[in-house]
């Protein structure tokens, strides 16, 4: 059995979540990868990849799904990481192939059977797919990434023969940051609505810098404009599982917990001793963040 994994290239490197998807695909046998745009030679060095399919196409779901459907051939499994990119493309591919996709896979039991969270992670469903070919997205946090180096795959150019509907990318607003990526950071410190405004939210920055942490946010903090959308952690934002997650002024709604409760260690700072976040926190500190955060920074520096 051979799988095809759609991988993403970011800043000239294969995204870690994509390498996790390659690891997941190894459960099924040989792995080929597809790269759209630049980065085919980088992808060829991923450990254990047999073949790199390379297409010079704009990164649009319409074109990529059509290309993958065209080249689905003998592949038994078609995968991508459950990133915004993978979630956009893979269900469309499934629609073209007449397959029910299995999204957000956290465990692979066998070639047909997968575990995925439902209801904001309040339940884990094990499903067996009856489709001859599987279309999957997998959560990066649940599969160790394969090493970026060590492989020497052959690169093959591919193109799609099919006509795709009219869509084009006309703009990109990318937030530049020197901090680690939220999904792969070893430490994440997140802030909630309690910060009151965007200026206060920046109190997290010196602490994040000190800890080499990524900054996350609750939905309420994003909705209030304290942080950009790509920082949202939760059921409908990003899923993180760092070594340490620090929640500051976050209540701990189930939708938020869905995105961080698999963190190794959780610390929470909240004025309300009854805040639900404390029910998942290894270390809880009841207190006003405006007093506690400066003390926390001072204690780190001490």
């Amino acid at each position: 059995m051979t799988s095809l994994v759609l991988v993403e290239i970011e800043n000239g490197l294969v995204k870690q979540a994509s390498r996790s998807a390659v690891m997941a695909a190894r459960a099924f046998g040989d792995v080929d990868v597809l790269v759209v745009g630049e980065g085919a030679t980088v992808a060829a060095r991923i450990e254990g990849v047999v073949r790199v399919l390379h297409a010079d196409l704009p990164p649009l779901a319409e074109t990529i799904a059509a290309l993958m459907a065209d080249h689905a051939g003998d592949y038994t499994h078609l995968l991508a990481a459950a990133t915004a990119f993978g979630k956009n493309v893979m269900p469309r591919l499934a629609g073209l192939l007449d397959v029910q996709p299995v999204t957000e896979v956290v465990r692979i039991l066998d070639a047909d059977t997968f575990v995925r969270p439902i209801y904001a992670g309040n339940a884990l469903a094990t499903v067996r797919s009856k489709d001859a070919r599987k279309v999957l997205t997998v959560r990066g946090a649940n599969f160790d990434p394969v090493p970026a180096e060590g492989g020497n795959a052959a690169v093959e150019s591919v193109s799609a023969a099919v006509e795709v509907p009219d869509a084009q990318i006309v703009g990109l607003e990318v937030t530049k940051s020197d901090r680690p990526e939220l999904e792969t950071a070893r430490v994440v410190i997140s802030g909630g609505k309690a910060f009151k405004d965007a200026e206060n939210f920046r109190m997290l920055e010196p602490i994040a810098d000190r800890l080499g942490a990524a900054i996350g946010a609750s939905r309420a903090a994003v909705d209030s404009g304290f942080a950009p959308n790509e920082m949202q952690v939760g059921q409908t934002g990003k899923i993180v599982a760092p070594e340490l997650y620090i929640a500051v002024g976050i209540a701990g709604a189930i939708q938020h917990l869905a995105g961080m409760k698999d963190s190794k260690v959780i610390a929470a700072i909240n004025v309300d001793p009854e805040a639900p976040i404390f029910s998942v926190a290894d270390y809880g500190l009841v207190g006003d963040l405006f007093e506690v955060l400066p003390q926390f920074k001072a204690a780190l520096d001490a």
Binding site: P91, A94, L96, T103, T126, D166, A299
Partner: protein, 249 residues
């Protein structure tokens, strides 16, 4: 231009889901049910586009049990002009739902379909993309801002690194993200008015679509529970614990 808005009846987002003792799924009996929150955002967006003159009619459609009429009435109270219930007692997967929606799209010929990016029960995040594929229409998923022009729609999308803007030829499928708008509450007079708006019911099995599930649910279990830890009394103690006990900083 007509806008079609698919809406799903789900366990209310404020309810803590309970896994059934027999491991067959999550309890939905005797639990408060509501419109999927992302679909409320979709209804709101469609109604705003009609109010701005970019659309002429908003049609809400739900696929599900007879009780899903309630959320269609809510959609109409929010401003949808009429509604269609594709009635079925089966629990359908996104693929089958998309196929049923396609038959409704073929019949209604909307210029735009606006729907939620994900349902908060199965968390699949798939139906909009599958529908777009089967229609061979372009898709603007995870919409943060939607602008409609002559024959096109521009969608600002929430992506991993920030925002991406795509321009799609109409007809197209758009799926909503949280920041697209804040849905209005249905007012009492509008709830009364919605009772008189047309609600058509079609039997799902009359639409000639293969509804057989492709996924067999082997089991549904509760995730391993995390136990609450300890309370610390100061920031200094927190740093000490993280450093010396947990060894994570």
């Amino acid at each position: 231009m007509k806008i079609l808005v698919p809406v799903k009846r789900v366990v209310d987002y404020n309810v803590k889901p309970r896994v059934k003792a027999d491991g067959s799924g999550v309890e939905t009996q005797g639990v408060k049910m509501s419109m999927n929150p992302f679909d409320e955002i979709a209804v709101e967006e469609a109604v705003r586009l009609r109010e701005k003159g970019a659309a002429s009619e908003v049609v809400a459609v739900s696929i599900g049990v007879t009780d899903a009429q309630a959320i269609l009435r809510t959609a109409m109270a929010m401003g949808a002009d009429r509604a269609i219930l594709v009635q079925t007692d089966l629990v359908l997967e996104p693929l089958a739902v998309a196929k049923l929606l396609k038959t409704i799209v073929d019949r209604e010929e909307p210029g735009l379909v606006i729907m939620g990016k994900q349902a908060i029960d199965d968390d699949m995040n798939a139906t909009g993309q599958i529908l777009a594929a089967r229609l061979n229409w372009p898709q603007g998923t995870f919409a943060n801002t939607v602008t409609v022009g002559e024959g096109w729609v521009e969608v600002k999308r929430e992506v991993d690194g920030g925002l991406e803007i795509v321009r799609l030829a109409l007809p197209a499928v758009v799926t909503t993200d949280l920041r697209l708008n804040e849905p209005r509450y249905a007012t009492m007079p509008n709830i009364m008015k919605a009772r008189k708006k047309p609600l058509e019911t079609i039997a799902a099995d009359a639409l000639g679509v293969d509804l057989a599930p492709r996924l067999e649910t082997v089991s549904v279990v509760e995730p391993p529970a995390r136990k609450a830890g300890v309370k610390v009394s100061s920031a200094a103690e927190l740093v000490e614990k993280l450093r010396d006990e947990a060894k994570v900083i």
